[in-house]
Point group: C2
């Protein structure tokens, strides 16, 4: 039963389990107390902090443990913005950050701050130049992930950190997806991470604030974790997090090569095995274990169910798999197809046979979904110059399927107007045009939705 969604949460690493169980007996007491159980808990906490700091490449007194990666991001951004309030109230984030960063930015904006979202290219990467252009005299903080969680693209963190450093602006790096693979390079100021992403336990995040970075923790605090993460320390989990980080780092060099070869295999073979597929994300500058592709004329949720029935656990950034019915903001920002989206993220040790089995199962699963939805087979008839398809009330991927079905019905040079009230269509119709070599003319307001206008070229 291959689990291919390590980027959501990795199964507990054996070292994490061992460390957790071992420290349940020693780590339950209050480390602030003077008696022996407290001193023992304090020793465990201090040792875990040293180990985690060593893995991050920072001083132990720069690192605090939080209750989750999300908390680390929320507290890190809020504290850095407050600490730099005198500089100004401008925040820079990339358009493809994790939702915890974007939620923090929303709260900051609602509170009167200004946020600049730095755009990404089709591979999902920002540039240092774009961060440079976004910087203002009143910029308090810039945030950038070390690598993207949905498509695996690595960001040019060191270069962006350099640009920010020159402007005297601290850079917060969300290293949730990459910390297990290695230290984050460059002269960053703050760093956040999440233990369950590298095989550590749930309930542990890291927040690193470099010495000299202005920081003012927000909300009620207490005396724990340098006043940056209130609440009783979860020492067994913290010990397990630090131990497993060290363990996965020891495996990283070998697994980087192995998993990279496996994801490369998926990148290369999926387009050969499945028609109408777009593999997304940077082919070179990427995390070893993540590969993402989108399948035209496919409903992501149904495809996930098909794959789950075949024993494969993967995730999707398609709108139909989310509760909000909007496609992944990452795929949207990249301008790539979101329908029928599949993210494969291999855990450490994922066996080659499982990947081969996946490649064996995928074509049939996609074909089954397409058949169910009545996806188009090559068209013939030519007729009118302008054709209107009413796909209102129909959800992704139906509007694109309807478009594909009729594009052959207009002559070359003729147009199809797709009426749709589905948010995903805004992204997927232009993406389909690019994949199919048709011309996307833009959208126009229409009764209860939009008209997406496509000119037939091919």
């Amino acid at each position: 039963m291959p689990y291919f969604d390590a980027a959501s949460s990795a199964p507990l690493h054996p070292v994490a389990r061992q460390a957790l169980q071992a420290s349940l007996d020693e780590g339950w007491a209050d480390p602030a107390r003077l008696y022996k159980e407290g001193r023992r808990a304090r020793l465990l906490l201090d040792a875990a902090r040293e180990a985690a700091a060593e893995a991050v490449g920072c001083r132990a007194d720069e690192l605090v443990f939080t209750a989750s990666g999300t908390r680390a991001v929320h507290s890190g951004i809020a504290g850095a913005l407050a600490g730099r309030r005198r500089a100004g109230r401008h925040l820079i984030v990339s358009a493809v950050e994790h939702s915890s960063v974007l939620h923090s930015a929303e709260v900051f904006e609602a509170d009167g701050g200004t946020v600049t979202q730095v755009a990404v290219d089709r591979a999902g990467a920002v540039t240092a130049e774009a961060y440079g252009e976004a910087l203002r005299p009143e910029t308090a903080l810039a945030c950038l992930q070390s690598a993207n969680h949905e498509v695996g693209t690595r960001q040019p963190v060191a270069a962006v950190a350099g640009v920010c450093r020159e402007a005297g602006v601290p850079l917060l790096v969300d290293a949730a997806q990459s910390l297990g693979w290695g230290r984050v390079e460059g002269d960053w100021s703050l760093l956040t991470a999440s233990a369950h992403k590298w095989g550590g336990p749930s309930g542990v995040g890291l927040l690193v604030v470099r010495k000299g970075v202005r920081f003012a923790a927000q909300g009620p605090v207490d005396e724990r974790e340098s006043g940056r993460a209130p609440g009783f320390e979860n020492i067994p989990a913290v010990v397990a997090a630090a131990a497993s980080l060290r363990a996965v780092r020891a495996e990283a060099a070998e697994e980087t090569v192995r998993l990279r070869e496996l994801t490369e295999r998926i990148r290369a073979r999926v387009p050969q095995l499945v028609p109408d597929v777009e593999v997304v994300g940077d082919p070179e500058r990427r995390l070893p274990g993540i590969v993402t592709f989108s399948c035209l004329y496919v409903d992501g949720e149904t495809l996930l169910h098909e794959l789950d029935r075949a024993g494969f656990s993967v995730s999707s950034g398609s709108s139909c798999t989310s509760s909000t019915l909007t496609p992944s903001h990452v795929l949207k920002a990249m301008g790539v197809l979101s329908e029928g989206n599949v993210r494969v993220s291999l855990p450490l040790g994922a066996p080659e046979e499982d990947v081969e089995r996946f490649l064996g199962v995928l074509p049939g699963a996609v074909a089954a979904v397409r058949e169910k939805l009545g996806a188009p087979v090559p068209e013939t008839v030519v007729s009118r110059d302008v054709l209107v398809v009413d796909a209102r009330g129909k959800r992704c991927p139906i509007p694109v399927i309807e478009l594909a079905k009729v594009i052959g019905d207009v002559p070359v040079g003729g147009t199809v107007r797709v009426l749709s009230d589905d948010e995903a269509a805004r992204l997927d119709i232009p993406a389909w045009c690019e994949m199919r070599g048709q011309e996307y003319l833009g959208e126009e307001p229409a009764d209860h939705g939009c008209a997406y206008v496509v000119r037939r070229i091919a």
Copy 2:
């Protein structure tokens, strides 16, 4: 090696350990995902929520899991205050709440809110009348602990909830110390608790918001835990928390009787065994496992070290055991002696022999500390009418020891002025006077500190 500080953190209950280990294999995946690992995690989370809600006496959809009891308090107070912002910006808390409540109140005050602290009697209890008097038309929220964490006194929660309900003001109950013993009675609106206090794992708090209570979660949130507790769920810990809550409840009836008898024994025998001791907290309306007393002429930290050397782990609300050098705000609000303070809080299953051993060890430990500090033995000589003792630069319990040493040097009717710059003296000199039957005349400003004026009566 008896651990008598369960009120700080209880050792992991065997059921918690078992449940934690069992769910490490099933509970690590993202419960929001559609594949089987996600569905399994979701089932565990749902079952834990049902079990915890049953123990609290609420609906499952009223209860969310937070990363700690402190987080539950911070989020609960902030959310309730924001939800009732239109009612006004007035908050009521008791003077003896846990620091997480008081820190929340401070943040609210710094943000322009108004806070009323309800005073307690010498036993540490509030009255419903006092809460009634504190209520205003613009009161947004009232907070009250179910029982005090330092002295064990139970609060009249049901009566206070009734008064608040009548005024249309929600009451948040911090049930951290009592939830393991039973449901919180009365018509409260919000409730918080902390799993490691009842033998559950660290890293789990509960926040209950009754249906119909206006609540607006503050700060960045996400789709987890009904938008009230952002960050990846810690499912193995949550499962362990719920299972152990059920387990300790099953033992509660029997352990209530047993521990109550043991703490009653300490309450009765400590004053017989150790001279100059004040047992504090309500003798009747109290938690079964907590007993607290203060020893005149004793430095709390040194006493804790003596007891630790003898194998007993207890805590103290004395100023000299805290990093801030101020005595416990609870003892201060009760107006009782804070020096040489010892809190014994027995964990479930604490053996009778350990308690007897403690009673055997305590008198020698106290005597050793007193001897080290040169505490007074009965005095004789009489001389001047006014005597000034300069205890500036000396920390608790030295000022009181100096006072006790010279009180016999003035005639009955004469006065002693103790110069001191130690914050604890403000509390402990009046408390000493009450214990000794001397008259405390008040404090006067003095160069670098205060003069505490005492008239000799006895």
